[in-house]
Amino acid sequence: MRWLSADAMRLAVPALALVALLVGIFWMQPRAMSYNGFNLLFNLAVPIALATLGQMMIMAVNDLDLSMGTFVSFVACVTATFLQSDPLIGVLILLAAIATYAVIGVVIHLRQLPSIVVTLGMSFVWGGLAVLILPAPGGSAPGWIRAIMISKPPLVPMAIIASIIIAAVAHLIVMRSSFGVLVRGVGGNARSVQRAGWSIIAARAGAYAMAATFAVAAGIALVGLTTSADANIALRYTLLSIAGVILGGGEFIGGRVSAIGAVIGALTLTLAGSFLSFLRISSDWQIGAQGMILIAVLGLRLLLNRFEVKRS
């Protein structure tokens, strides 16, 4: 009896973890089960989910981006300064940054470089640029993004709507478009994609540019929430985004990624952090809780996989 496909199984575990965390929070604090409660719980998850999707695009072509956190910080600094005061220059800077990502993707492929090291070097570059733009914390959010992030649509909070839209758009791009199929094909078997007449260079450039686009959205959304920026604002995103992709059922190799899973993974990690404050456990353990959730979910998935193998 197979009532769930293998892909659905992979999604089920992080989704269950998310539901379990939510139930736990509502059980301890029923007042959180409200419009404002949901908004507060998931607000900060929106930029993390976008950064996770960016990391997912890079992981789809078997690479890893260690500069995600500094890049999102850099975008946040640009958003809080140029994009706010001179929108045209701000947009141009962000477009140039996206183009830089595409170039990096091509260089990594042409010279067969380890992506970890190149993005490690780039993380210093983005960090340096961020410090140059905003030497001290400050700046202010452009009015339109602030308005979007604090808007209160009827019935469903903004954070939830945003997460669903982001997941749907990313799902369409990665799973339903020919570009997405091509990118995942490069991750799965680059040689056969090449033999079929596709350009691997173009696919990798596209994947990197798409990753940068998601990361730019993450930086802008983050400033919309915090209203100001500093050069270290999103450093944690590098590790959180990798963890989110894996939590959502993605793999490091083989082009096996899931956009919906990545968003769920990011939401779960965000909730894991705030879960503790409801347990009245000191916030010292906040990062530790994220580590434990990660281990628990991966352990559970292993158990389910074994179960699956035995049954078939």
Binding site: R111, I116, L120, G121, F124, V125, G128, L129, F252, M292
Partner: protein
């Protein structure tokens, strides 16, 4: 010309060039002080880099992201335990080693039992270790025992004590890698894990020992760094995550595993420190310094890839 063929020679050439440029800026007056500072700070990168090199040699995907958290936890706990008491220096070191032992074993248990990629296993664990460090530290800054503070900042025959310790570690690492059966096993596993298993190498034992070795080197470095800098700080390990990977790669160790390079770590560590002090001497601000550091890392890896292409 066999010396020029060694992959590690370039990191020393680069470090020497940067040293000359820096000393020239000060008219030669700083040559001794600069060399001693470089040796001292390089010592920390060398020790964590050596551990990371053993892990990276195990093959693709092997990396220890728990290094910074381990350093912080061992520095914090050991200093708290010693409580400025000179009699407790050795037991304090023992505690540091014990922490490294526990972290290393936990790392490998997660990798093996949950069958998750090392990057995610060590990442999840580092969240927990970092949380434990935050919890033990509680914002207190305990001073190191006076004898230990003196030892870590003193010179022997004009050479910093820390550099001598790091030298001893690297000599031992060199013998372990090139002259012991354990080193041959690591390289064999890095070149092909299935082949190593077929050849009867105790793969799990060797990998466990390697993760433990890396964690112990990190925890001892954390202990020394906390004594050297007059107390443990919660962010004291942060820069060593990227640094430990960077010095290994710039030093000429193959990122794909199976081929390690001990002398290169010294060249790369000296180089990384000297670049920063050179840019400082010439009056560059923090932003430009970071950007140039990043560009230099990328240039070095580009040059190294060209070199490998020619040899093949």
């Amino acid at each position: 010309m066999t010396l020029l063929r060694k992959p590690w020679i370039w990191s020393f050439v680069a470090a020497g060039a940067v040293w000359i440029v820096t000393v020239l800026a000060t008219g030669g007056s700083s040559s001794l002080g600069l060399s001693q500072a470089a040796l001292t700070f390089a010592a920390f990168s060398v020790m964590v880099g050596t551990g990371q090199m053993f892990v990276i040699t195990l093959g693709p995907g092997n990396i220890d992201l728990a290094v910074p958290a381990t350093m912080t936890l061992s520095g914090t706990v050991a200093l708290k335990f010693m409580a400025e008491n000179n009699g407790l220096i050795l037991p304090g070191l023992g505690i540091a080693v014990l922490i490294g032992l526990c972290v290393g074993i936990s790392n490998y248990v997660l990798i093996k039992a949950l069958r998750i990629p090392p990057i995610i296993a060590t990442l999840s664990l580092s969240f927990i270790v970092q949380s434990s460090a935050i919890w033990t530290n509680r914002g207190l800054r305990v001073k190191p025992p006076s004898a230990m503070a003196d030892f870590t900042t003193d010179l022997t025959l004009g050479i910093p004590n820390l550099a001598l310790i790091a030298l001893a570690v690297t000599v031992a690492a060199w013998f372990l890698l090139n002259r012991s059966i354990y080193g041959r096993w690591i390289s064999a596993i890095g070149q092909s894990l299935p082949a190593a298993r077929m050849a009867g190498i105790p793969v799990d034992g060797v990998r466990l020992a390697t993760y433990v070795l890396c964690a112990i080197l990190a925890s001892v470095t954390g202990y020394l760094l906390a004594c050297f800098s007059g107390g443990a700080a919660l962010n004291m390990g942060a820069e060593y995550l990227l640094m430990s990977i960077a010095v290994v790669v710039i030093g000429g160790t193959a990122v794909a595993g199976g081929d390690s390079n001990v002398p290169g770590i010294w060249g790369a560590s000296l180089f990384m420190f000297l670049v920063v002090s050179m840019l400082n001497t010439y009056g560059f601000g923090a932003g430009f310094r970071l950007i140039l550091t990043g560009l230099i890392i990328i240039t070095v890896i580009l040059a190294a890839s060209g070199r490998q292409a020619r040899i093949q």
